[in-house]
């Protein structure tokens, strides 16, 4: 487990001056991942806020070899880079004493939706790479459209709350468990707001000789409508309400990495964000109850999978 002191001594590999918003959860996640990761690194990104805001030509915020090719294929692109590394290394055409680590960043759109196939393929093939989904629960770069990571009831510009619809009608896809089903060495959920948990998971993931996946809930001030100075708190309350449990599946074994002392009601999370504002109006009580029920059910299942006592 890395200490703050150790991390503070590491060189920042995502330099300042990029154009991500103040309070952007994704950039905090990326910085923490890069600080914790063993070096040297080669990084790939999917199209999205992160890529667009960090590489406005002729500038780049990335202090290591970095590549973007398209939206839905970051995992496939990275798998090609990793295969080239394997090939050249075997042929003695790379320095023998350097081991390069491979990380890919994608938003939830580029990971849950359009990039799911390429992620699944790369995971199944067993490339030695860590895929980090900075999950802000919508397509933010194109102006806050719904993704399959958008929670039920959430307002987005393509799941707007209207006279007859209460925001997104469907539940979130459980991508973390989909990745668990790939039987890869390491899968975890983390959050922007708990650096120790995230950085520990990054180091575990990159110690594996195969693919790993971390799904990082990353608050987005614009898309979620929350105060930029409240990014970390918003992330933490997602964990305290069990909207976003922190856990890992290490070599197939589920384990909670944090268990709230007292599970808070979901309303505590919802009320911090404009995207759920409409749910708090009178008439939506049934939907709120349903959202709470969904969370309770999933939490119970996770407790079971992790060998914890049911509450």
């Amino acid at each position: 487990m890395p200490t703050l002191k150790e991390l503070a001594k590491e060189q920042e590999l995502l330099s300042g001056g990029h154009r991500l918003c103040a309070g952007c959860g994704a950039s905090i996640a990326v910085r923490q991942v890069l600080l914790a990761a063993p070096k040297p690194l080669v990084v790939t990104s999917a199209t999205g806020c992160l890529e667009v805001a960090t590489t406005i030509f002729p500038y780049t915020a990335w202090e290591m070899p970095w590549m973007h090719s398209a939206f839905e294929n970051a995992a496939a692109t990275c798998s090609g880079i990793e295969s080239a590394y394997e090939s050249l290394k075997k042929q003695g055409r790379l320095p023998v004493d350097t081991k390069i680590y491979f990380i890919t960043f994608g938003g939830d759109g580029g990971t849950y939706d359009i990039g799911l196939q390429s992620l699944s393929g790369a995971a199944e093939r067993g490339h030695r790479m860590l895929y980090v989904c900075y999950n802000n629960q919508a397509y933010m770069n194109t102006g806050i459209q719904r993704s399959s990571a958008t929670p039920k009831g959430g307002f987005t510009t393509t799941s707007p709350a209207g006279k007859v619809k209460p925001g997104k009608e469907q539940a979130r896809k459980d991508l973390t468990e989909i990745m668990v089903a790939h039987n890869i060495p390491y899968v975890a959920q983390a959050v922007v707001g708990d650096w120790r948990d995230l950085t520990t998971k990054v180091q575990k993931a990159l110690s594996k000789d195969g693919p790993s996946f971390i799904n990082v809930l990353s608050p987005c001030r614009l898309g979620w409508g929350c105060a930029p100075e409240k990014t970390l708190q918003t992330g933490r309350i997602a964990v305290e309400t069990c909207f976003w449990p922190l856990y890992e599946v290490d070599e197939g074994v589920h384990k909670l990495t944090y268990k709230p002392k007292e599970k808070k009601p979901i309303i505590e999370f919802l009320k911090l964000q404009d995207r759920f504002k409409h749910l708090l109006k009178a008439g939506n009580e049934a939907l709120l109850a349903e959202i709470q029920e969904d969370i309770d059910k999933k939490w119970k299942k996770l407790l079971f999978l992790s060998g914890e006592k049911s509450e």
């Binding site: 070899p65 090719s69 080239a84 590394y85 393929g121 093939r125």
Partner: protein
């Protein structure tokens, strides 16, 4: 020692790939190109190549992984056909704009719908403006020879290249193919020295940044210039190939063109059939010729229009249709290059043929020459667009 092998087009391509010994091959099966991938994966399984073979889950990922591998600094290849190429479409433009010297054999097959597995050129013609160099081969020998040259062309021009053969007609037909020794192929292609490999961790670079309206145009302008410079490189490498291996290739092949009054322009395997027709008609004293276009990208406009300008009439055979209510892609480019490059303008006819693998026969081609003769006699073209072998 050179070996004369009885092999199919696909086998010739896979064999050339083995001798090229790329560092990474990422590929996905599709008829009629599947064999290339299968045969090559066996080479990898038997340790006959140093290649990391990546059996990806789609052609989009095949091209994406090949792009990643090429950017990483390795020699990277893939192979595909038809729907596979269509699925790669987005990534084709990215491969060329990132200036990655990827070499891709492509087996020409029609595009759905209706789904059909047989030869026509709709697939690669659809990719003609994607920034890839395109070489269309007449037979398996040419595919073998061209693939070896393609490595050098791509790496010198820093542009990706596709080398195509007609599905089934060439991919599955057995021919005598003269192959070279591994070491001679290796000597010809040389060692790959990428200028800015992503895996050079001591010189970190950013690949695939975003351009706004202040830079995009300049980057495209330099890409245009890269394609402008390809023609002499192809010719130089062909010359070197001829010196080393003794077979000569150009941008196009001229057959009985010297004193020809009419001629056909054609791409791919149909040239073989057309040569028989030319021989037959020549025996009857007809002054007919054939121009087989080999390099379609870059389009050799100047040289091609010079070769055609003295003809009285020319028929362009297209094995795809532009679906543009005008003419096929080869015809429109031949016609426009004559318009812009030559004072003399032969009459032009366009023949759409062979869609979805429809056979074309020697008589069909002889009939085209008859049509040309009529045009010369009357000075009039009745129809610009004509169809061969379709039930109306």
């Amino acid at each position: 020692m050179r070996k004369l092998l009885a092999i199919t087009g696909n086998e010739a391509i896979a064999y050339a790939m083995k001798q090229i010994n790329p560092d990474v091959v990422a590929a996905y099966p599709i008829t009629p190109a599947t064999e290339i991938v299968q045969i090559f994966s066996q080479y990898a399984a038997d340790g006959e190549v140093n290649t990391e073979f990546v059996a990806v889950e789609s052609e989009h990922s095949a091209m994406s992984a090949t792009i990643g591998a090429s950017a990483a600094g390795s020699r990277a290849m893939t192979a595909t056909s038809s729907q596979g190429l269509a699925l790669m479409w987005e990534m084709l433009y990215i491969a060329s704009a990132l200036r990655l010297p990827i070499v891709m054999p492509e087996v020409n097959r029609s595009l759905s719908a209706p789904i059909n597995i047989h030869a026509d050129h709709s697939d690669t013609m659809g990719a003609r403006d994607s920034g890839w160099i395109q070489i269309y081969c007449e037979n398996a020998q040419e595919a073998y020879d061209s693939l070896i040259q393609a490595v050098r062309i791509a790496e010198e021009c820093l542009l990706p290249i596709m080398v195509t053969i007609d599905g089934f007609i060439i991919s599955h037909a057995m021919e005598g193919v003269e192959t070279f020794e591994d070491k001679d192929v290796q000597n010809f292609i040389g060692k790959y020295k990428p200028a800015h490999p992503l895996l050079d961790i001591n010189h970190p670079i950013t690949i695939g940044a975003i351009d706004f309206n202040d830079y995009y145009f300049e980057h495209k302008r330099s890409q245009i210039e890269a394609m402008n410079k390809v023609e002499p490189v192809i010719l130089k490498i062909a010359q070197e190939f001829n010196k080393t291996f003794g077979r000569s290739y150009g941008l196009f092949e001229e057959y009985m063109m010297q004193d020809a009054e009419t001629a056909i322009v054609v791409i791919g395997s149909t040239a073989g059939t057309a040569k028989v027709a030319v021989n037959n008609l020549r025996k009857q004293g007809k002054k007919v010729g054939l121009l087989r276009l080999r390099v379609f990208r870059p389009f050799p406009a100047e040289k091609l229009s010079k070769a055609l300008s003295n003809l009285k009439a020319v028929a362009v055979l297209d094995r795809s249709t532009g679906l543009n209510a005008y003419a096929g892609p080869v015809c429109t480019e031949v016609a426009s290059s004559l318009y812009t490059n030559s004072e003399k303008k032969p009459k032009i006819l366009n023949y759409i043929y062979g869609l979805g693998g429809r056979d074309i026969f020697v008589e069909d081609i002889e009939n085209v020459y008859k049509d040309l003769e009529k045009v010369v006699k009357t000075g009039r073209t009745e129809n610009l667009i004509n169809y061969i072998g379709v039930r109306e």
